[in-house]
């Protein structure tokens, strides 16, 4: 079934410029996804600025050449280079040139050069119920779940098309009835100490994504003071191991004042009682090796917040890390660290602050193999395939302690 376009939309699609191509792609995708019409969207987060090959550069430059301008506020996800400290990324000349051309093409279309996968912590926060078109799996999960704005998981290219014509196909998570949870995850069997710890959230997310896939669940029994960074870690891990675009946390996320409300006052199709053994299995899957060897640490997927930097500084506590130690973040946080005169002390402690990009999307790690330790479920998921490194998952405190001691050291207490 073709999408019913308005007269205005048909006129745009009939042109020969970038807006016409965008409208055609939107209409075709809408038909593919069963949308009957397009709706207006008011903000976009764009994931197409990261270089994965020349084809994406040619696509973006064609849009620029045909006069593309974004019609709504549009932030950029990470790029393939660190434009603040270029030497951080060791790309070959072709890759460097193409990655830069790609970033510049999106800037030329009027996108904000935020270059972060945590745009929601860089000031781009759509309101509850707002219709938007966001890309990048963690940003989508956060935008839907934590902010309560409405977006589908827009792939590279469709996000920019939506931004150029300020429209999106009306289907899926744009529609209220598609946002209802059908699966109840009961966490009452888990200890309060575990639920209060940061290390729990990526593991919960990794389990949730693998178990629930693209269904919508409501998690019951998490503390009401669950922090934004914990929800960010949960969503990022869930969106890596499954196609999770929206999750609800009873008493925490805005569409779930209660589990019953998130379920639309209907009985769940399935209830899963999560126990410690299931979580331990999920935690163990996040690591690919055992033993004490560690060659580097990487934090910040999604990009580290200022609050996470504060926790890191407290743990380092004036000491020096022995191993290559990367923290990936947005330039909005780097500027704030500099303003507060905290960047230099971090660097002096042995920390490399990576801006605009991250270690699993750009050649940053010191060699092509080794063992990387991380506190990020998302890094743990993508590190082996993207970098050649084996991976060990641990808490932030485990990562710092291991980097200072030069061998893997994990606190097993919470998991026993």
């Amino acid at each position: 079934m073709p999408v019913r376009l308005t007269d205005e939309e048909r006129a745009i699609a009939a042109g020969s410029d970038a807006a016409a191509m965008s409208m055609r792609i939107l209409a075709e995708m809408g038909a593919m996804l069963g949308a009957e019409r397009l709706i207006r969207v008011t903000s976009s987060h764009i994931d197409g600025g990261l270089y994965h090959g020349d084809s994406g550069v040619h696509f973006a430059e064609r849009l620029v050449g045909e006069g593309a301008r974004v019609a709504i506020p549009s932030t950029m996800n990470v790029g393939g280079l660190d434009l603040i400290t270029p030497a951080t990324v060791k790309a070959d000349p072709h890759r460097h040139e193409m990655a830069l051309r790609l970033m510049k093409a999106y800037e030329a279309m009027g996108c904000w050069p935020t270059w972060t996968c945590s745009p929601y912590q860089a000031g781009h926060r759509p309101k509850f119920g707002e219709q938007v078109a966001w890309g990048e799996s963690n940003a989508v999960a956060f935008c839907n779940s934590v902010l309560g704005a409405r977006t589908n998981r827009y792939g590279d290219f469709l996000d920019i098309c939506c931004a150029i014509v300020a429209r999106a196909p009306d289907y899926g998570l744009h529609r209220a009835e598609k946002r209802r949870a059908t699966i109840l995850v009961d966490t009452s069997a888990l200890s309060h100490a575990l639920k209060a710890s940061d290390v729990f959230y990526p593991v919960l997310g990794a389990w949730y994504g693998a178990e629930i896939g693209n269904a919508i669940g409501v998690i019951e029994g998490l503390p009401p003071f669950t922090s934004e960074d914990q929800l960010k870690a949960l969503g990022a891990a869930a969106a890596s191991s499954g196609a999770v675009g929206l999750f609800h946390v009873a008493g925490v996320t805005p569409e779930a004042p209660t589990a019953a409300a998130a379920l639309g006052n209907q009985p769940p199709e399935k209830t899963i009682r999560l126990d410690a053994a299931m979580l331990r299995t999920a935690r163990d899957r996040l690591s690919t090796v055992k033993g004490e060897r560690i060659d580097a640490v990487a934090l910040g997927s999604p990009h580290f917040s200022l609050e996470e930097f504060e926790a890191l500084e407290d743990l380092i506590d004036g000491r020096h890390v022995k191993l290559p130690f990367f923290v990936c973040t947005g330039r909005h946080v780097v500027a704030e660290l500099e303003r507060r005169r905290r960047l230099k002390p971090l660097q002096q402690a042995g920390v490399t602050v990576v801006a605009d990009t991250c270690v699993v999307v750009a050649p940053i790690l010191p060699s092509r193999s080794g063992v990387l330790m991380t506190n990020s479920g998302k890094f743990a998921h993508y590190t082996p395939a993207n970098t050649g490194y084996e991976v060990v998952y641990g808490s932030l405190a485990d990562c710092v302690k291991s980097a200072i001691e030069g061998r893997v050291s994990r606190d097993e207490g919470l998991w026993s």
């Binding site: 084809s55 696509f59 590279d156 998921h381």
Partner: protein, 138 residues
Amino acid sequence: MTAVLDSKIQVEGEARGRVLKLAKPISFWGGVDPVTGRISDPRHPNHQAELKGRVLVLPGMIGSSSSSYIMLELMAKRLAPAALVVAEPDAILGLGVVVAREMNYGSIPVLVVPREQQAALADGAEVTIGRDGTIRVA
């Protein structure tokens, strides 16, 4: 014996090739190397399988929305599968194919066959896909 399977068309087209049936869902970004066209996730059961020319049968999609970029790159470099058979309508891989057509990189059929009906498509089977969305298994 020839079996004929119906599908729902996402992108129309004809194709012929051997089935590559993935044992688990995959994220093309972080799971398929756009330089070699092979499955690069060492944790995936089909690690190292080459996609080029195969009728790729996917039990589900996970992970990154950048997978459409990887799909476009495979199309641009002639490393793409001959066809995609997905378990449910998917906005990510089909998008890579739609953009490939806009960029004159060619096109491949994208068909939906629900997971419970994918049993008819055995790994390695020779299949022919018609413009009407029928899949003939030799």
